[in-house]
């Protein structure tokens, strides 16, 4: 398992992965997110389109990435989450801090507003 990341001219990095984000993959995802942020990619959008399932460990990895990005002055946003991920975020009330954006464009637009502010 590895994350695929692509950075644009706007300084936003899109991160993608395939499969489940669970206790088997969470530690590696957490580390790779930390490496990206340490490397200066502090405005991240995690595209969950091909992530079929997230468990509590995966949620922890996303929270870890969010905290690291915020500490670096950036943010981590999630986009295209499926219904299972939305159920998980709703149950834990973490949608308050990890708002699931419908599309990459919506998540990107949010960044533009921050940049404009």
């Amino acid at each position: 398992m590895s994350l695929h990341s692509e950075s644009g001219d706007d300084g936003i990095t899109i991160v993608q992965m395939d499969g489940r984000l669970d206790l088997l993959t969470a530690a590696e995802v957490k580390q790779q997110l930390a490496d990206l942020i340490a490397g200066g990619h502090r405005r991240l959008i995690f595209d969950l389109d091909r992530v079929g399932f997230i468990d509590s460990s995966g949620l922890g990895a996303l929270i870890s990435g969010l905290k690291a990005a915020r500490q670096a002055g950036g943010d981590l946003r999630i986009a295209r989450a499926n219904q299972q991920v939305r159920a998980l975020l709703n149950l834990t009330m973490l949608e308050r801090v990890l708002r699931p954006y419908e599309t990459i464009e919506e998540a990107r637009a949010g960044y533009s507003q921050i940049a404009a502010d």
């Binding site: 669970d22 969010l66 915020r70 998980l88 149950l91 308050r96 801090v97």
Partner: protein
């Protein structure tokens, strides 16, 4: 496979070497269960099913990870899923070391939580307990860990 009309039982015994194989088998089983259930009953809403599946995966992952030593060459896990007219039940049995579930320390965040203070772990039991109507653990006399999960329709 069909016990009585509008009731469904699926049982699986998973004996795998790795947690990865165990979780793959579990997710395959859950998918099959919902597919079979859809043929005999009107399924609960999708969100409801996701919550049950998520709770089941949390408890199973917990068992596969904690009940057996790192060097275990087999991680047996017996899973029984039952659909009733008014509820879905799961029974998970492993042969590993006794496990005493700790109370969940996670509290759902306030309206404007301090992100720096959010925990990065410890969500598992909170998720399982909150998603279900009942989650019970017992150690059987014959030395098995037994979890019973119930979610009412």
């Amino acid at each position: 496979m069909l016990a009585t009309p509008r009731s469904l039982l699926i049982e699986a015994y998973v004996a795998t070497q790795t947690i990865d194989e165990g979780l793959d088998a579990l997710h395959d089983m859950i998918d099959r269960f919902w597919n079979d259930a859809a043929r005999i009953d009107r399924l609960p809403p999708e969100m409801w099913r996701h919550l049950f599946t998520t709770a089941l995966a949390e408890v199973a992952a917990n068992g596969l990870r904690h009940a057996y030593p790192m060097t275990a060459t087999e991680r047996p896990l017996r899973v029984r899923l039952r659909l009733f007219p008014d509820r879905v039940e799961a029974l998970l049995i492993d042969h590993g070391a006794p496990y005493e579930p700790l109370p969940s320390t996670y509290n759902a965040p306030d309206h404007k939580p301090d992100i720096a203070l959010l925990p990065e772990s410890g969500y598992g039991l909170f998720i399982a307990r909150t998603a279900l109507d009942s989650l019970r653990y017992r150690r059987t006399r014959s030395g098995y860990n037994c979890w019973k999960l119930v979610k009412k329709k």
